[in-house]
Symmetry: C2
């Protein structure tokens, strides 16, 4: 029998207890062992929960219990989650987590600490909720060089963008509706400004390229500026609008970014709708493969946490296949100005702008829903910035293509 | 350094040698060890290949070489692939394979043999080519009860059906075109009659439900009877037509089947086009997740073979997380007559058929491209058979919905 402790009995934490209980039989069958929740750490009491008797308010009850060998951290936030994780690893306990903030900020250090102490630190649930993506990248794609990662990594923003495209609704109205339905939080900033996706793409970039970038130091645009005219243009021209976390190597250095993108309908990410997530990995031998499913939610995310617990129990004492990456030095960050793509640009409809834009960009602008719109050829961010400055025109929308 | 042998230097076998060579650096980085091809078994000589000097015609050169610890079987066909695999496992060598025929026919026995000898038998490449699906099902979904598996498992037929739907072309013409392009073999029977998909769905069903069915004893329909009228009806009504391998439990027993399906466009499998594969797994905690990518081809398939080799080297001496299933007894097979779904039926356009069909099925038939078409309510195969017999009408098309 394996005893685990749960840190944080919120949505995902209580979900993990539920998965371990309700799926006890299938887990025992797959693992050949019983996994039992022995203690739960939370500031609150849960007198009505069947797990209420396991709750403690003192972390030391878990840290100092030698019978607890695996700890599942689902507290959210950097502190004290990071501090508790560190203490557990140093005490020889393996840790699994759904906490993308801790992984994105401290993952390299915690992996090193786990290796030093002969235990494991796993974080399948930190990206893509329940979708298997971390383990497949570490194991199944180990025979491949990763060329790029493109992911719809945030269900809230994907729900909003899907509604805007399908129903022609305005951003503010859809956000309110999403808040009513519980798809968006009352303070939606971390989702709609892109920080949540930024944390996830730096984790995927670390797995792909070995360097953990700071999520606060990558290019990060949210969806708050997407207009109904942008959505109309996309629909008219065979694109979906998606908030994409993108990572690739540029001149041998790591580029990770989050921004809205026009995704051609032929791209499998274009079909990832509503609160679903999808992660498209391009690998040098395999080509493109996509992982799709529920990127959030209590039970899906908890099922990934429990899969990590099972992995640890099954491979007890084996730490070799741990993901390995290090904190990126300044020289590891790609120059964002050197990133190349095509971009959709929209301007106010003024008669003399057409010729100017055609001369500058070598493509013919079109009138679209009251704006002059063009899609550039492939060029670097720096080249595009320079051309826009030269034009002297005010850009109403600037959305990259995928 | 780990020495591997390759059995069968055809498309996938030569691809595996290429992946191991061209991706040597990334594999060494991920694994911390070098993997070297020491011998290659084939009936032919390859004087122009850079690997030509490694070729032997004598299996004993591999079997009796104690330095070779992992053998990659990519011969195709049951014999001698099965016999060589057995000999290798008995000699204490782990075996990886892309050979779905061997896994579908002998997988349970070979897994048991591997466990008995403390080695491993892995077959990621046997389903979905390069798409990670076997390892994710065994590891990432270990916390879930699997409810159903639905897969587009054959690229040849998916290419043909995509062309029929998108270009309105007739089956025979598209098949000829696919043969010209190398997407279909000169004798396309195993693909278009569904046997290839049947082998793959019994492997997935074994992972999901623990019982390995005989691929020759499950319900298996190919795509040869799909007409342009069927494709037109699908297009008009928001469906794609896909050859689907399906598995679920019916009354606690395993049902696996292959048949064309009308897939609603809202289902992510509907967007899996051309030679791509997609596998949608429904799990009790995670919900639906999909794995998508190149289901065939030299390098994608080879990259999965090499991922299995890496898995074995990384977990040397650990055999606990091996997939486990046993050969299905007769009582493990679900009664196909009890399988429930909705079905599209087409009949010749005769005036007196409308009322008869409406009375029998309780839905209003419609005229569609010269045929009377209806979509039944959900009912069992047996109920549908009985109603059709009662109608006395000749069915022109009968395609299940997904």
């Amino acid at each position: 029998m394996v005893n685990v402790a749960i840190l944080g009995f919120g949505v995902v934490g209580s979900g993990a207890a539920e998965v371990l209980t309700d799926n006890r039989r299938v887990i025992e069958k797959n693992l050949g062992e019983t996994v039992t929740v022995k203690r739960i750490l939370d500031l609150r009491d849960f007198p009505d929960s069947p797990f209420g008797a396991l709750v403690t308010h003192d972390f030391n009850d878990i840290l100092n219990d030698p019978e607890i060998t695996v700890v599942a951290e689902m507290m959210g936030g950097s502190h004290p989650a990071y501090d508790f994780t560190k203490a557990c690893l140093e005490a020889g306990k393996s840790v699994v987590t759904s906490n993308k903030e801790v992984v994105a900020n401290f993952g390299a250090e915690l992996l090193e600490l786990a290796a030093k102490n002969g235990v494991r630190y796993l974080f399948e649930a930190s990206v893509g909720g329940g979708i298997p993506i971390i383990r497949p990248m570490v194991n199944d794609l180990a025979s491949n060089e990763i060329l790029s990662v493109n992911g719809i990594l945030n269900g809230t923003t994907n729900y909003i963008l899907t509604q805007m495209l399908e129903n022609g609704a305005a951003y503010d109205d859809v956000l309110k509706d999403a808040q009513k339905k519980g798809y968006a939080e009352r303070n939606p900033a971390a989702d709609v400004e892109g920080l949540d996706a930024a944390r996830k793409i730096v984790i995927l970039a670390a797995l792909a390229f070995g360097k953990l970038l700071n999520p606060n130091e990558i290019h990060c645009e949210g969806i708050t500026k997407i207009t109904t005219e942008d959505a109309e243009f996309a629909k008219d021209n065979g694109y979906a609008v998606k908030l994409i976390g993108h990572a690739e190597l540029v001149d041998g250095r790591v580029l990770a970014m989050v921004s809205p993108r026009l995704v051609p309908c032929s791209n499998p990410l274009a079909g990832v709708s509503d609160v679903f997530n999808g992660i498209l990995v391009d690998a040098n031998m395999l080509g493109e493969c996509m992982f799709y499913g529920k990127g959030a939610g209590k039970l899906p995310t908890a099922s990934a946490v429990v899969a990590d617990i099972i992995d640890i129990v099954a491979h007890r004492g084996k730490t070799e296949r741990a993901p390995k990456f290090e904190v990126a030095a300044e020289a590891d960050y790609a120059d964002f100005g050197a990133y190349k793509c095509r971009t959709m640009l929209a301007f106010a409809d003024k008669a003399d702008s057409y010729e100017k834009l055609e001369a500058l960009f070598g493509v013919t602008p079109k009138l679209s829903h009251g704006r002059i719109v063009l899609v550039t050829k492939e060029m670097t961010e720096a080249e595009l910035d320079a051309k826009l400055a030269e034009s002297g025109l005010k850009v109403l929308s600037r959305i990259r293509l995928l």
